[in-house]
Amino acid sequence: MTAVQSPRPTYAGLPGRTLLRLGPASVQVRRRAVLVAAVTAVLLAAAVVLSLSLGTPYVAPADVLRSLSGAGTPYDLVVRDLRLPRIVLAAVAGAAFGIAGTLIQSVARNPLASPDVIGITQGAGLAATIAITTGAAAVVVAPAALVGGLGAALLLLVLGARHGLAAQRFVLAGVAVAFALRALTEVVMLSADPIDGLRAQIWLIGTLAGRGWSETLWIALTLAALLPVLAWAGWALNGTALDDDTARGIGLRPVARRVGLAATGVVVAATVTAQVGAVDFVALVAPQVARRLVRAERPPLVCAALVGALLLVLADLAGRRLFAPTQLPAGVLTAAIGGPYLMFLLVRRRRRSA
């Protein structure tokens, strides 16, 4: 694929974008988005190396790189076997959260919407809690959480579908679903054996500790399988910011489009939550950070994914090192960042609408 500046003097594609062409196919790319993606990717690489190097024992970044290149160093066990799986998982899960958040926020037309606000995470949490407290085998927990998340989404679609999944109702229905599921989870936890309740509690907070390649594999496989859908979604998101009448006027089918995008976001969110637990706020924050960096009305999926990956890698690193030797789950850190951010958004929106 080659970048072609149009022979037309005015512009190829829209201002600030470059047109990529291959035969009859053409894709418009925001140049600022490319810049943001490149910078975020470099920062992500740096964060990964830093995270691999910090800890007990400390491994110099040069040794980290040598170990990664397969040169065979005394640090291979620490770097490649102990730290790398968990850090790669953080990056992949963060990326998936970023994608899911972008899809759901665009459908809801609301920066406050995300899988952990509209009940997907709570559905997964309830199912996981039931699985843990009923003494099911550990391997059952993740599939149960996946089913729980999808079930919550189904409930949400049924509640919202009557009104064409209209933005406002979608969010309200989601918040209601989230509260109801959360309450049910508490009931299950309180009526369970305290030890099991504690294990469920840890799952609910969301952590990357003790997790690695197999979780990464599940998330990566899901994303890979959804790749054609995500390619469509990246384009389809353009229409979601328009109101339904305007969208119909330009030949879109807004309801079908919203259902498709929401379903994609939900599958990604439920998959990643099932694997790493309820790591809150990454899906909420990453799309908004990416959107502001790109200065567009919506974040490109790739940028949101990279920002999400960076956020979760940093959150995991902070959780490991900030109060060392005490280890905090990544979910605690993301919540600590996300809470104030949410308040900031609320205050800002109120000021705007005033």
Binding site: S6, R8, T10, Y11, A12, G13, L14, P15, G16, L19, P24, A25, S26, V27, Q28, A231, W232, G234, W235, A236, N238, G239, A241, L242, D243, D245, T246, R248, G249, I250, G251, L252, R253, R295, A296, E297, R298
Partner: protein
């Protein structure tokens, strides 16, 4: 009023169209024909169903029964993408996506020609350039739409529908919320599209005088029915205004365009004095327009309140009908039912 039962010459038609919300029936068995290559304006009191008619014709609302015909084909049998290539729609108050730039928004009008794997073409660039030039927003291309004034914003939305390259354009109250100068600006633009580009334009308007000034074809609605349809000079009379709006008025020729100008009658006696312009104001009980069809055979100027203007028949600077041969300043406005 429906002189052509077949749809020849009509770009958009409705047949037996019934539309309602929940319990309420808004339009009942409506047959309407909108002529091609004309500027049609739909007027009527609030809640008369004019927006509902426009929205149904634009397939934004589904009728209970009956059909909307686009060039003789039922619109519901056409793929929405194809309809969008033939029919542009501007809803009443479209939502501006946060932070979107003018060129971006205008580019959305190319949606019906694009696919996710074919996102931009030379034709897209050309159409967007052309649309922005026509709507006079090319200089704003990189500005965020939410920083623009109301008039500019409305021109941007019109540019988006122009980029769709459709034969017809449907607009729901495109001048609402605009000040007078911006209203004229938008209506002039629509007029030029009809006169110079041969587009079929259909708009719902609130202002009768603007409707009369710009429309080739006027449709007056009341309670979900069409009361009269035709060229404004033929159908816009004091009787019609009374029938449709329940308001007594005088209809005189506009001093600038010669189109019918609707002036409300003396609804409050004290208004006459305050105006101070008419020394020989008729006594209150003979207020102009009340119980009189002032158009009937009278020359302009006889109808009282508009006296100063027609006395000075300056050459009209703008005429809505380029093809209108007759002298617009002379003529009578017969009662309806001609």
């Amino acid at each position: 009023m429906n002189r052509t039962p077949d749809t020849r010459g009509a770009m958009l038609s409705t047949r037996d169209l019934t539309v309602g919300y929940d319990e309420r029936t808004v339009l009942d068995s409506l047959d309407v024909d909108l002529p091609a290559d004309a500027f049609t304006v739909i007027v009527g009191p609030n809640a008369c169903g004019k927006s509902t008619l426009l929205r149904t014709m634009a397939r934004l609302l589904a009728p209970r029964h009956g059909t909307v015909l686009l060039d003789g084909t039922a619109i519901r049998d056409l793929p929405t993408r194809e309809v969008a290539r033939r029919l542009g729609v501007l809803p009443q108050s479209p939502l501006v996506p946060e932070g979107v730039t003018v060129a971006d928004l205008v580019g959305r009008g190319r949606q019906p020609y694009q696919r996710w794997w074919r996102q931009w073409s030379e034709q897209d660039s050309a159409a967007v350039d052309r649309a922005m030039a026509q709507a006079d927003v090319a200089g704003l291309a990189d500005r965020p739409v939410d920083t623009l004034s109301g008039g500019q914003r409305q021109r941007v939305w019109i540019a988006m529908t122009l980029a769709q390259d459709t034969e017809a354009l449907l607009l729901d109250e495109p001048t609402t919320f605009l000040d007078l100068a911006h209203q004229v600006e938008v209506l002039d633009l629509l007029h030029r599209l009809r006169a110079e580009r041969g587009r079929t334009v259909v708009a719902v308007l609130h202002d009768l005088n603007q409707a009369a000034r710009y429309a080739d074809h006027l449709i007056a609605m009341r309670e979900g029915r069409v009361v009269a349809a035709g060229p404004p000079r033929e159908i816009l009379t004091a009787d019609l205004v009374r029938d449709v709006f329940g308001l007594d008025c005088v209809v005189v020729p506009c001093p600038v365009t010669g189109a019918p100008l609707v002036v409300p009658g003396l609804t409050a006696p004290s208004l006459a004095r305050r105006a101070g312009t008419v020394d020989a104001a008729p006594p209150v009980d003979a207020a102009p327009g009340v119980d009189s069809a002032p158009g009937a055979g009278s020359a302009p100027g006889v109808a009282d309140p508009a006296r100063p203007a027609p006395a000075d028949p300056t050459v009209p600077a703008v005429r809505p009908h380029a093809d209108d041969a007759g002298d617009p300043r002379v003529g009578s406005y017969p009662s309806k039912g001609h």
